[in-house]
């Protein structure tokens, strides 16, 4: 593991702007990563897919349950 990967700062999630469909936008999450050496698009895609589940969870709690 390189140094950048261990010393990244974790951003307080409460201060992030969240568009519809999003809990933690990739553009902000990316800042916590070291430079991505492989396929950044893949990391972004999977992050956003799972982030949408977090979004749906709270809105489904509000709307359906």
């Amino acid at each position: 593991m390189n140094e950048a990967a261990t010393s990244h700062q974790v951003m307080p999630i409460e201060q992030i702007s969240r568009p519809p469909g999003t809990c933690f936008p990739w553009e902000r999450k990316k800042e916590e990563f070291p430079p991505i050496e492989g396929d950044e698009g893949l990391v972004k895609q999977i992050w956003e897919e799972i982030d949408t589940l977090g979004y749906l969870y709270i809105w489904q709690c509000l709307l359906s349950f």
């Binding site: 409460e14 992030i16 702007s17 969240r18 519809p20 469909g21 999003t22 809990c23 949408t52 589940l53 979004y55 749906l56 969870y57 709270i58 809105w59 489904q60 709690c61 509000l62 709307l63 359906s64 349950f65």
Partner: protein, 398 residues
Amino acid sequence: MSDEKEKLYQERLQRYVTAMRNKKPDRIPIRPFVAEFTAKYAGYTCQEVTHDYRKAFDAACKCAADFDWDAVVPNMVYVWTGLTTAIGLTYYAIPGVHLPADKPFQYLEPPEEQAFMKPEEYDLLVADPTGYLYNVWLPRVSRDVVTPGEPATMRNNLAFVKGGMAMMRYFDAFGEQIARLRRESGTVSALAGILKAPFDIIADKLRGYKGLCMDLYRQPKKVEAACEALAPHLLKVALLTSDPNKQLPVGLWMHRGCMPFLSPQQFERFYWPTLKWIIEDLWRQGIQTLFYAEGEWNPNLKYIAQLPELSIIYHVDRGDIFEVYRTVGEKFCISGGIPNDLLAFGTPDEVREYCKKVIDGVARNGGYIMDASAIMQDDTKVENVRAMTEFTREYGVY
């Protein structure tokens, strides 16, 4: 799946979609919104179908097969209290726990002073609706979730893990339930997706109806801003949960927009603009809305008439269905209108007579779906549902 059942399914889907597009199918589709009625018919208690969704699914399948309906909601007893218990939600009275096992679940609105959102928090909600829900609302509505900044607890952690996993299990199970209805009885799933009006969400789950009514006078601009802030999120959820084939409508369940909860003037200012915006956007993307107008909505018909042609299926509860037909029948498919008190306390002959009146009055040119006025609970008589179904199947042929 047998060829026979698949053929039946395709016929029913065609019938249902044709009616929803305000056209004339081969006969009137029958799509009853049956909730705790399914438990009564299948021999379960309300506790069983509310707390064990597998029994609710079984009951829905049994009703769909035995009554031979065209379309049903895969589980109209939608609130699975196993899930709400895992999250620690405090606003339900659960059959068999807080209520007798044979009583339907109840939503408990807190007293005004204990509303889940405080009157001074509109700006917080508007600035970041999703953050507000996670950081402020959820800790207030759950007995287990702690407010950010407070010490984490095991109960908090479990509420998220168990709540998330239970929700995923529940929604995944709907896929198989929909396939089962198709396979076993050729029944179509009636809806896909969830939508509520921004105003209703503030009334139901945030400020409470009484608190919101005070806000309409004390801080009306904040209420408008909150509706505008919630609308893009409610649209997003509707889109994320909608039918990818765009054949089935999104279910819009409305509570507080009608008389006497809001005057038409209040409706026009607070309720309607953001809801209209959502419905229009869904329709631009080819998605219809099942406009479940619970209560007496006829005073608001002039607003509903503003919606694009075919954008909604107008479900009539207590409004005069014949006036609805005269006002918006050219634009929208209509469903419902068979009074629940008649289905609960009337006779099969009276039910047949009323169904004839509705069919003759609003359905002769197509664009009508047979159903009760409101969701049918366990007070609905089986023989009356059978009369409604059999009469429509015989008399509702075009």
